[in-house]
Amino acid sequence: MSPPRKRGPNFLQKNLGSRFRGNDDWVAFPSSQQPAALRYIAAGMNLEPILALAGKLAAPYDLATMLAEVMDAATQVLGAERASVWLYQPETDELVLRVASDIAPVRLAAGTGIVGTCARTRQVINVPDCYADARFDPGVDRKSGYRTRCLLALPLIDHMGALVGVMQVLNKRHGVFDTGDEALGGVLAAQCAVALQRTLMMQQVIEAEKLRREMETARAVQMSTLPAAMPQVPGYDLYGTFQPADLTGGDTFDLALTEQGLLIVLGDATGHGIGAALSVTQLHAMLRMALRLGADLELAYRSVNNQLAERLPADRYITAFIGLLDPATHRLRFHSGGQAPILCYRAERASFEEHEPTSFPLAAMPLERLRPATTLELQPGDVLALLTDGIYECENARGEQFGVERVRRLIAERHDAPMAELAAALLRAAQAFAGEAPQADDMTMVLVRREPPGARRAFRRGTESLAQIFAFTADAVIEPELRRTVDLVIEELFTNIVKYGRASDTMISVDIRRHGRGVRVTLTDPDAEYFDPQSARQPDVGAPLERREPGGLGLHLVRELVDTLEYRYSREERTGRILFSLGGSDAVH
């Protein structure tokens, strides 16, 4: 929107030129009358008010003020007693009189009456004697007690040729409206049309902005209920993430330690917007409250369902997984109200179990009795994976869904990575799959892995840490041969990081997990430049003595000794991870 500018008579001349010449489609009056209009304005009559108006019309007024300005100007410029502006509503093909000094809002079908005819024909209508014109409705006068003698109806057409409304000017103070008034009114109407259109659009933008702010507030409420940090449960790697779509969606998750065990929740309310957000927020609050009051899983589930059924609108429901895990016995008991699939990756068999919901969605109707909860026992390395349909049903350009198979494949590949990494990999894969398509739904997931036996410890950068590292591996790996190889590979990788990595105060952590007869080891450098040990230069191990250099030998030995070697680097976290496994194959070094 441009600020008000000083405009000289040239402005009007130009406007007359562009608005009144040759474009019969939206010309305000027949082009044969042009000379009269130009003469009228050139004579300099009443120019001041219309110039003042030109300035005002460019101001960022709200609609009511803008309408008042337009009507005020019309009465002044045209020497009339009253003016009114009827706004056109294309959806209903009606004209709506929103403000006209002391006349109540009126609706009028386009095509009826003088104003309606003006809207339909897009022509100026000059009625010197209203009561002699069949189109005139004297009913308005009877109600208001005002007597309309003559009137001028001017179509308001914006610069794109769209009908904005009709301006009606009543009772010329001295006599009736003449062709000069028609011309001047036409200029005025053109200016008013553009100004009104702009104001209406502004109003829409402001309303959209208001709605957006409301959405943001709802989003903030929703986000505030999510756990700020994952609970620390020894022997478990827990991760939950919530990636909202543009609009407030209805997903939630929870991971919280309660007296009854680790609460695991994944919920998805129907619909989008504030209603959905508030539904899941209520679920969240009720559930935590029920557990705090000592309810067991069944009582909590049933009470929350019944409360939600009572409180939520009839068409609203929430699919939700609600489980309690005992970290001591590794037993997970859960109810699922329509939330599926419930995936459990079994590490030992490297296969998936899929579990069915135990009940209908929460809030759908009150629950009298509840089927028994499903019980799972998590074994070392097992991963419970709960994902909302925002991920499963994420679509690509061809309308295909991301689907359960892709999720399974990624989990099978990355089940031994930290759960935060697995979650990031799943989200990245879903987003890559969707391509350019905007995210249609919230993407939410909860991942729970029972850690396989093993140990993790962090060490200072420096060869003096080697003694501590070897003491650590001695605890984790009993078999002397295996341990010696593990030590050698760790030493080579660790000294490589110390030598060539950043001089950082951060510690390098070593994580050792048993895997069958062998081990899986992860070295994590939390302050790393990208360096893939697999791509390191291969030394010539057949060269004669003079040309032998010790460089590159360490990584060469590593590659000779491991079963698998993998490098993962996160640019955002500057974290490098080297994962290797050995001892799993028959060849023991």
Binding site: L466, E481, D487, T495, L545, P550, L553, G554
Partner: protein
Amino acid sequence: MLSIELGAPGTVRIAGRFDAAQCQTVQAYLDKLEGTVTLDCGRLEYISSAGLGVLLKTQKRLMAAGGKLRLTEVNRHLRDIFRYSGFDQIFDIEPAGE
């Protein structure tokens, strides 16, 4: 821990774990030796590429002066490491009587 000491004439006994943290100590010890030296590896449990680098440097120095480093009593694990690194072609290696 690592220890290195003189044994029979012309023989040095190395025992324990030869990792990157031991390089300076071993290098300083080997730097004093001349001629043909036998390194008794019978009690050497472990060697990493850093240790191999120390042996390589010593071998280069001794051979330039007409001497050399011989490795004796080398266990199977160490022989694997020497083989993977191609060091079995640089040193005379005598396996341990396993």
